[in-house]
C-alpha cells in the first residue's frame, strides 16, 4: 500500500519540481546572506584580504591545539609585529604575508588566533569557576530550596573540568545552528505534499472505495507512514544541504571538538561534540516536522478542499512561529528548529522539584502534540 501512496502524493512532476526548486532556493538564500551584489557582480560580504589570510591561518592553526602550534603562534605573532614596525601601513599587497599586508597579519594574530587559543586554554579555568560557584550556591540553598540545590548541583557537575583542545572556526557553526530558512521550506513542502493526503481522497470519492474494501485502518496507516517518512527525508535532505552549503561558504570543521569549543556556545548545558550537536539538531528539527506533519494530516481529514486544509496548516505554522516569540523555551515548539538557542545557555525548568532541561520538556510537549494529532487523524479519517 505504501508504494501506491508514494506514487499518489510524491512521484508527481509538480512535487519533484517543487522539491528541486526549494533546494535551489535554499542555496540562493544562503548565497544572498553570504554575498552582496555590486553592479551585478557578486562580492563576498566583508571579503577582504583579511578573510583570505584567516583561511590560510586556520589551515595552520585550526583543529587540535598542540604545544608546538602554541609556540609557533607566539613566534609568528612576534614576527608579524616586527614586520608591521618595519613596513608600516602599505597600500599594495606584498609577498610573504598571509593577508598580503603586515598590518592584516598582525591584526589576525592579535584579534583572532591569540584570543581563540586563549579561549581554548583558559576555558578549563572558566568552566571550573562556574562549577565551583554552582557548588557554593547548592550549599547556600540547602536550607531553602531542594530544587535550587538540585539545579546548582547539576550545573556544578555539568561544567566541572571541561576542556577545549581545539581551535574551531566558529562562525560557520554559529551560522549552521542559527539557520532556519530551510526548515521553513520543509514546512512549505510538507503542506504542499500532505494537505491532499485525506482531502483529495474524499474529493475524488476514493474514501468510499477504501471504506468498502474494509481496509480503512491499513490505508490510514500507510498514509501516516508516508507522512512520517516524508517529514524524515525532507528534514534530512535539507539538513545535509545546509551542512554542505555552510561548509562550502563558511567552513564546518573539528567535528570531534566539544560544542563549547565554539565561544558562542561556551555556556552550553550539554557536554557533547559538534558532531553530536549536529545529530541533536537534526533530531530536534525532525521532531518539530513530525509534529507539524501530524497537524497537516489531521487538518486534511476535514472536508474535500485541499486548499482550505493547506491554508489552515499554514495558519497553524504561523501561529507556532508567533508563539515562539512569547513562550518560554520549555514550551517553545518552533524554537526547536533553530538549535543555537538550545546550545547557547543553560536552561532548565522545575518539574516536581527536579530540574529538567527546557529542551527535554519542549521535545516531550512536541511529541505529545504529535501523538494526539495522529490519534485524532486515525479516528477522523475516512469517516
Amino acid at each position: 500500500m505504501l508504494k501506491y501512496e508514494i506514487k499518489k502524493y510524491i512521484l508527481k512532476p509538480s512535487v519533484i519540481l517543487c522539491l528541486i526548486l526549494f533546494l535551489l532556493l535554499n542555496i540562493g538564500k544562503y548565497f544572498e546572506l553570504f554575498y552582496h551584489f555590486d553592479g551585478g557582480r557578486a562580492i563576498v560580504s566583508g571579503y577582504t584580504a583579511l578573510s583570505e589570510g584567516e583561511s590560510k591561518l586556520y589551515e595552520k592553526y585550526g583543529g587540535l591545539i598542540t604545544d608546538e602550534k602554541i609556540e609557533m603562534l607566539k613566534s609568528e605573532l612576534k614576527t608579524a609585529e616586527a614586520k608591521l614596525k618595519e613596513y608600516g601601513i602599505i597600500e599594495e599587497p606584498m609577498e610573504g604575508f598571509y593577508t598580503g599586508y603586515p598590518y592584516g597579519d598582525a591584526e589576525l594574530f592579535k584579534n583572532t588566533f591569540i584570543p581563540a587559543y586563549e579561549y581554548a586554554i583558559f576555558y578549563f579555568r572558566y568552566s571550573n569557576e562556574i562549577s565551583e560557584a554552582a557548588r557554593q550556591n547548592a550549599v547556600y540553598y540547602a536550607e531553602f530550596s531542594d530544587y535550587e540545590v538540585r539545579k546548582n548541583t547539576l550545573i556544578s557537575s555539568l561544567y566541572k573540568n571541561r576542556r577545549v583542545d581545539y581551535c574551531v572556526k566558529g562562525n560557520g557553526w554559529s551560522a549552521f545552528f542559527d539557520y532556519k530558512f530551510s526548515s521553513l521550506l520543509v514546512i512549505f513542502l510538507l503542506i504542499f505534499i500532505l494537505s491532499p493526503l485525506f482531502s483529495s481522497e474524499r474529493a475524488g470519492g476514493f474514501d468510499r472505495l477504501i471504506i468498502s474494501s474494509g481496509k480503512r485502518k491499513a490505508a490510514i496507516r500507510s498514509k501516516l507512514i508516508l507522512a512520517l517518512l516524508l517529514s524524515f527525508f525532507l528534514t534530512i535532505i535539507f539538513f545535509f544541504e545546509d551542512m554542505l552549503i555552510i561548509d562550502a561558504f563558511s567552513g564546518l570543521d573539528c567535528f570531534n571538538a566539544p560544542i563549547y569549543a565554539v565561544s558562542e556556545f561556551q555556556n552550553c548545558s550539554f557536554d557533547i561534540t559538534l558532531f553530536e550537536s549536529c545529530v541533536v539538531s537534526a533530531v530536534s528539527r525532525f521532531i518539530v516536522m513530525l509534529c507539524f506533519t501530524s497537524i497537516i494530516c489531521f487538518l486534511s481529514t476535514f472536508g474535500k478542499n485541499t486548499a482550505v486544509s493547506g491554508l489552515l496548516s499554514f495558519s497553524v505554522g504561523a501561529l507556532f512561529v508567533l508563539l515562539s516569540e512569547v513562550l518560554p523555551q520549555s514550551l517553545d515548539i518552533a524554537g526547536l528548529v533553530y538549535t543555537s538557542d538550545l546550545f547557547r545557555g543553560f536552561s532548565v525548568v522545575n518539574i516536581f522539584g527536579f530540574p529538567v532541561f527546557s529542551v527535554v520538556t519542549a521535545i516531550l510537549l512536541t511529541l505529545i502534540i504529535a501523538t494526539l494529532f495522529i490519534i485524532a487523524t486515525v479516528r477522523r479519517a475516512f469517516r
Partner: protein
C-alpha cells in the same frame, strides 16, 4: 448464495428516516433499484458497503457457509474519480492491494481484469488521459478485482455516451451468472435492459421486488394511449400521470398511467418499466 437485508433502518440528524425497516433477500442475478430522489437508494448502498452504519437491522450473507460479504464485495461509487497519475494497470494493482488480493503474477491478473472491460490496450495510459467512458470501465474493472460475489454499481452510466452505455450493459450482463449485482440508477432503460429483478423503493421502504414482467403485469390495464388535440393533451398532462407524449402533426399521442380510462377513445397498452415508475412514484426513476 443469498444476501439478506433485514429490517435495516437509518435516520439522519433531522430525524428523517432514510431507511425504514428495509427488508430484502437477494440471490444470484442483476437487481435494479428504482426509486425517486430521496427514496433511500444511496443510503441503502452506503449501508451495504459499510460506508455508513445502520441504526438497526442486519445484513446477512451466506455462500456455502462463507458469511463475510465485505471480503466478497465489489463497488463502483457514483461519480468515482481515479488518481490521474496512475495508469489503468496501476489502478487495478492498487485495488488488489486494497482488497488484499494475492496473485502469482499481479500484472497478468490486472491485465486479465482490464481485458474484461476492454481496457487492455490502454493499460499503460495515465488515467488522467482517459475519457469518461474509459474511466467508468476502469471503475467496473476495479470493482471486479478479487472475483467478488456481490457487485454494487451506483449510477454507473451517468455521463456515458450511448455507445459506452451499451458496452457497460454488456459487461454487466456477462457478470450476472454467479454474482449478485445491484444496480442503482435513475436511468430506467439501463435497468430495463439488464436487470432481471427490480426493487422499487420509496421513503426508505421497499414497495415491491419482482421481475420486470411481473411488475408490468401488475399494472396491466392501467396504461393507456390516446390521440388528442393540443388543449386536451395539456389538460391530461395537468390532471393525469403522463409517461410519454408524441407529436403527430397537429395531434398528440399521449401515454397515460391511470387506474381509470382517461378518455373515451383511450386504448389499453402493454406497460413498460417506465410506466411502473410513473405509477408508483409519479416520476421516472
Amino acid at each position: 448464495m443469498t444476501l439478506q437485508i433485514r429490517e435495516l433502518s437509518k435516520a439522519y440528524s433531522k430525524g428523517k428516516k432514510a431507511l425504514d425497516s428495509f427488508t430484502l433477500t437477494l440471490e444470484k442475478g442483476v437487481y435494479g433499484i428504482l426509486g425517486p430522489n430521496g427514496a433511500g437508494k444511496s443510503t441503502l448502498i452506503n449501508c451495504i458497503t459499510g460506508i455508513i452504519k445502520a441504526d438497526s437491522g442486519s445484513i446477512i450473507f451466506d455462500d456455502n457457509g462463507d458469511r463475510d460479504y465485505m471480503k466478497r464485495l465489489g463497488f463502483l461509487p457514483q461519480n468515482q474519480d481515479f488518481y490521474p497519475n496512475f495508469t489503468a494497470r496501476e489502478m487495478i494493482l492498487y485495488s488488489m492491494a486494497l482488497k488484499d488480493v494475492k496473485a502469482d503474477d499481479p500484472k497478468a491478473y490486472a491485465d486479465e481484469i482490464l481485458k474484461r472491460v476492454n481496457l487492455y490496450d490502454d493499460r499503460n495510459k495515465k488515467v488522467g488521459a482517459h475519457s469518461g467512458g474509459m474511466k467508468q470501465r476502469l471503475g467496473i474493472a476495479q470493482a471486479l478485482v478479487g472475483e467478488p460475489k456481490i457487485v454494487i454499481f451506483d449510477e454507473p452510466t451517468a455521463g456515458l455516451d450511448p455507445k459506452e452505455r451499451i458496452r457497460f450493459r454488456n459487461v454487466i450482463s456477462s457478470l450476472a451468472n454467479d454474482k449478485i449485482v445491484i444496480l442503482a440508477t435513475h436511468i430506467v432503460t439501463d435497468i430495463a435492459f439488464i436487470a432481471k429483478n427490480v426493487v422499487l423503493m420509496d421513503k426508505g421502504r421497499m414497495i415491491d421486488c419482482a421481475s420486470q414482467t411481473e411488475l408490468c403485469s401488475n399494472i396491466y390495464g392501467k396504461v393507456w394511449e390516446t390521440v388528442t388535440d393540443y388543449d386536451k393533451g395539456m389538460e391530461l398532462m395537468k390532471e393525469k400521470r403522463v409517461s410519454n407524449v408524441v407529436s403527430e402533426g397537429e395531434l398528440f399521442n399521449v401515454r397515460v398511467v391511470s387506474d381509470e380510462k382517461p378518455t373515451e377513445d383511450a386504448v389499453s397498452v402493454q406497460p413498460s418499466l417506465e410506466d411502473v415508475c410513473i405509477y408508483h412514484f409519479g416520476e421516472i426513476g
